[in-house]
Symmetry: C2
Subunit: 346 residues, 2 copies
């Protein structure tokens, strides 16, 4: 007399069946499942045996209904195929899993609409907390949805008007450092390709870029700044455009892992040699930078640590910490390699 679920699956054993099988009441089974100490060892053993035999797993929905807890953390990222975000997830996992939380990752594909959909799904599912990387700080619907969450949210590297803990990465200073280096080598026209101005990394990189030039008393040619999107295609297209322009740069900063990828490809397709024809700096993908020849100077960050820190902030809140939003800033490193050199005299 098996009940067919909509999916045609087998019905799962409930606490009642375990109780019947062990010859106890459901209250006792519940106590065993909840690891309450007030159960006789012999009774506990019998219940455990019954659970194992039936393959019993407590129904999370029913449990959530009673406890208002799901032991689930939502992890929102702009792009799953980007290793940068995957590493953050890994780092967060290492902190959250030991506490019994499960991380569920969801990729928005950089669509604010999908972000809203995810946040609503998370609220419906009563996820206990969220770690989110938004794809556009100006998307008000997303911000509003975060405000409604009712559970702790940790925001990664974004500037949003929300009462939430945040983990920032340092971008401005490392760009300044790199640009400083290039200026010292004699470069006067440097191209920057980076993310949209609607997210903090994009803004900070452009700001650092401008500041470095201004400090050196040099004018800023806006034509050399391309800061609109985070994709390999964008990186390739803008790099191509820069390098085939009338007055091309002698160095390229590809600030963003996808952009790095695309920009490097564009350089190859144009048949240019690094660093003889063009100096090149990438970001966020140290492995790639070290795989090509010559190895490429890269602005790097420890994304696993970002994940760990974010999870730590979240965990404090889950444990009931009640204080104003906290902010953590993590550094970036410039890995100097042989892809930058003095510009060729033309």
């Amino acid at each position: 007399m098996s009940v067919k679920t909509p999916a045609g699956g087998r019905r799962q054993p409930t606490i009642h069946e375990v109780a019947a099988s062990a010859g106890v009441s459901i209250g006792t089974v519940s106590r065993v499942a909840g690891e309450s100490p007030r159960v006789a060892p012999e009774t506990r053993a019998r219940v455990l045996a019954a659970m194992a035999e039936l393959g019993y797993q407590p129904n999370a929905a029913a449990r959530a209904m009673r406890t208002n807890q799901t032991k689930t953390i939502g992890f929102l990222i702009p792009d799953m195929t980007n290793q940068v975000f995957a590493r953050v997830a890994q780092g967060a996992e290492t902190v959250l899993a030991p506490e019994g939380y499960m991380l569920f990752a969801f990729s928005s594909n950089r669509s604010p609409a999908r972000e809203v959909a995810f946040l609503q799904a998370a609220r419906q599912r009563q996820m206990d907390g969220l770690i989110v990387t938004l794809s556009d700080e100006t998307a008000t619907a997303t911000i509003e949805e975060i405000g409604r969450m009712g559970v702790p949210v940790v925001v990664l590297d974004r500037e949003v008007p929300v009462e939430a803990d945040v983990v920032y990465s340092e971008h401005m200073q490392s760009i300044e450092t790199v640009v400083g280096q290039l200026l010292e080598l004699g470069h006067r026209r440097i191209g920057l390709v980076t993310a949209s101005q609607n997210i903090r990394p994009g803004r900070d990189r452009v700001a650092g870029f401008r500041r470095a030039l201004e400090r050196a008393g040099l004018p800023v040619d806006d034509w050399l700044i391309r800061a609109n999107r985070q994709s390999a295609e964008y990186g390739a297209a803008e790099t191509h455009d820069l390098l085939t322009g009338a007055n091309p740069p002698t160095a390229i900063l590809a600030a963003g892992s996808d952009i790095f990828y695309g920009a490097l490809r564009a350089v190859r397709l144009l048949g240019l040699t690094i660093p003889d024809d063009i100096s090149f700096v990438g970001a966020d993908d140290p492995l790639l930078g070290d795989l090509v020849y010559p190895p490429i100077t890269v602005i790097d960050r420890d994304m696993v640590e970002v994940g760990r820190q974010a999870a730590g902030l979240l965990l404090d809140r889950l444990r009931g910490l009640d204080m104003p939003p906290r902010r953590i800033m993590l550094g970036s490193n410039v890995l100097l390699r042989r892809s930058i050199a003095a510009p060729r005299h033309r």
Copy 2:
């Protein structure tokens, strides 16, 4: 008199509050939420307004309890930082999302214990279906757990004794093709680095490798076959070992995206030139293969299509399709590039 949840969050509005606010009964609210047609337009509008104002989202746990549906699909992958799996997830998403299903990705980090933990969590949470890529076909605990799921499961590229639909990728023939090419060019010692023999791709690649040699009437030197793990470190270590051995191969097959990465790095570190010093073939990362110089011959697969197909199989089951397990086989392509050449006379 706000109720503090354990996490300190704000209580979410329930169907009762919406009903009160709209001046209707909860039944009517439920019908509006469920998009039942049997509601007067004017009433529906009032309810919708109340929902919007309160920011109401139906409680998924309560809903799951009644309907035995969660509209959630679990997606188990061995390694989140591997783009290959991320692409599969993307493909699956495109098929499942329009049907109202949410995909939740979980990375096992190639640990069978974590796979079991995920499967149990999926069962507790009553996920409606699963798409899984196991990291070890011989892990019986995982297999047993799948058998208990009670919901449709689609298995990707694994040979497991389970009543489930499967999407396979072709590996054997493409390896044979590549080895055939190398033999024609005059190579007689070819090194293969690939995944463990405990998963189908590893086995099939080794099988294809052996078959190609046997067909050519050549002996197989087992020393040249390294098939134990799927990581960049493994790829680097084994490639290094092969190339620094007493009788090294003149060509390397790095069959696996992580392995590809590591192997290529090992070749670089040894200061060898491709293809003059060593012919090289990678797999599963066509972009990387095209980014380095010279471009590298790669065995490629359309992982997005794998995801789409898997999702399609799952969807049929979710709709109630009742028939024996189905199997889909998807092809691989050899992208011939300049990384292979005749071996240097030594």
